[in-house]
């Protein structure tokens, strides 16, 4: 059992990690993957043999050999609850984002006030459905001035991955 209170987030350096220590939420490490799971569940999962446990709770991401943490798309719901900076995408470029493309100024609907540059954000569509993660290419202030074809948010992960990577789903530890 490992309980993490500090994690390295290359992408999301602004996340308040205290937010994660919600009372009965715990992280479980399984083969370098981090799972966010209720404590009671985690206790139940102890009895599952190590080589037979595929996943539990929600897979947040995994640690790489280099010690970086890669956040996985499956965490987007949870991240969305705690994320400080959000970006809303217009319907016209919603599908484009889901295909893995970056968000252009023309497709930018809303952005949280004061988002700095190179900031990890959670991308939503106009119905508040979380679409994925991104990194701002320019600050919120600058993107207001930019041209319609300029990239404002770089696509890090989107839920289109469920269809693109069906065979290589990293959420499963097995």
């Amino acid at each position: 059992l490992f309980v993490f209170t500090l994690l390295l987030f290359r992408m999301k350096s602004d996340f308040e990690l205290q937010l994660f220590s919600v009372k009965f939420a715990v992280f479980r490490l399984q083969k370098d993957r981090v799972y966010y799971v209720r404590e009671s569940i985690m206790r139940a999962a102890i009895s599952v043999a190590r080589d037979k446990l595929a996943a539990l709770g929600v897979c947040i991401g995994k640690f790489t050999h280099g010690g970086n943490f890669h956040l996985h798309i499956t965490a987007v719901d949870i991240m969305g609850e705690y994320a400080k900076y959000k970006v809303w995408v217009r319907p016209s470029s919603e599908m484009s984002f889901l295909y893995g493309n970056h968000v252009l100024k023309a497709g930018l609907g809303r952005i949280t006030e004061g988002t700095p540059q190179s900031q990890g954000v959670v991308v939503y569509n106009m119905n508040d459905v979380p679409l994925g993660f991104g990194v701002t290419a320019r600050s919120a202030f600058d993107s207001r001035k930019s041209n319609p074809t300029d990239i404002v948010v770089l696509n890090q992960a989107d839920i289109g991955v469920y269809l693109r990577n069906e065979d290589h789903n990293p959420a499963s530890a097995l």
Partner: protein, 575 residues
Amino acid sequence: MGGTGRSKRKQREKKLGSGLKDAAVLAGVLPQNGGIPVKNSRIQKTKKKDSAVKSEGKDHKKQMFDDNSSSESNASQDSEEFLSDKQNSEYESSVLDEDHEFTEDSDEGSDAENGVQSDIGSSESDEELDIELKSKKFEERLARESKAAQEELEMNARAAQEEFKLPAREHGRGGMDFDKIPESREHLQARIKSTLSVLSDFKRLRDVNIPRSEYIAQLESDLSECYGYLPSLTAKLMEIFPGGEVVELMEANEAPRPLTIRTNTLKTRRRDLAQALIARGMNLDPVGDWTKVGLVIYESQVPVGATPEYLAGMYMIQSASSFMPCTALAPKENERVLDMAAAPGGKSSYLAALMKNTGLLVANDLKKERLKALVANLHRMGVRNSIVCNYDGLELPKALGMFDRVLLDAPCSGTGIICHDHSVKGSRTDEDIAATVVLQKQLLTAAIDCVDASSSTGGYVVYSTCSILVDENEAVVDHVLQKRDVKIVSTGLPFGVPGFSRFREHRFHPNMIESRRFYPHVHNLDGFFVCKLKKLSNSTQPKHTNTSENVYEMNGSEMIKKETSKTSADKKKDR
């Protein structure tokens, strides 16, 4: 000759003229007009009349003939030849009658009138008689023809029925005959129809020489060939569905069922989802009154499995039959629930939604490859209370402890989902099905062992398959009833055909009618079977059967097919 009066002379001329003409016709000089053969009745009668005045009786008639000229005698002879025997005799009799008339008339009074009248009368009556004769003949001919036609019809019908007997006799029954020229589908379907009609009214329509078993065998081979099933599978289906229902089932299996999706209540409501999807360009409707989460998609401009709503986990593409086991299990919040064969995760995610992400859901599957899909689906749908693991279902009772409820959607032959996977028709032999049945019995026993009978809220197991065969459904449940202390309870499902408590020579527990069967041709759903069991106690001894017999059975049937890891579980059961 007759009188010399003016009227008399006229008559004579008339008659002579006609008589001459007729004589000429008879002699062959003049061609005959019309179909009715000229009878020399008139001739004879005129002559007769002339002579009748003088003479009386038959003898005179003959004399008349003899007295007549040679042409007349010839004519008479010709006429006799000309007329049929029947007509001759009739004619003679009528002539005789007329003789009497003549004599009477002549007795009475003036020749001319009488003669004329009698002559006309005689000729008319003669003609009537002729027509009568002809019409009689015609009618007889008609009667004969219609009778012949009817016989022919019946013969044809018989022949038609006999026709489709022939292939069976020539080529033998059962199995594939590769030398036979494949018959067209319409031809086969026509023959199927006629066989079914014969079987439906067997006493009346059958061919006496052909036994019922041959009709049934013919039907079986026709159905197998027409729809592409293995003959053994067709035989099993014919046992379950009487008469023409098999054809309905097979026809329904040819076409896919409508596409349905299930709203993920963890993330959205059905109404909101329906609006969003309609905005995307889908044509959909709620599935029915019996579910609050189902939507049926009639047509869609965008791929249903690739909309942003799908990717965000708002719905799951799932057949409506698959809702049934989950609603039957009805897990409550904060329970421990196990799904023993969970991949790809449609039912597991429904269970989690019913539990509202509380409690614990263990989603297990034997196959690693399928686990990836299971994990992905659970994550996509926002399930947070799950553990996904990779056990063999038979190991689970020892590995994970006790649960409140268990769902076993057992691996089966797939005869209920033929509409999705047509290869099932040609690949499920009796041996395959028998092997699957053994596995199902073991899995269900293990599922029951995973349940805690003393659970405060639960203690239920739901067994479901996507198969409509009795071997895999009622027979499995019945087997387990004798091994464990469980009882069948109502599934709580709003509709469905009740399971069989009797089937051919089998007698199942009477409560089997609480289980539910779903058919493609009745409910427009995939074929399915759902049965809910309640565990009464944790004892592994069955309720009613003899202990020693039980041990013997378990030793005999279950020890053979085991992996080594199972032996400890075996011993536990034996105890």
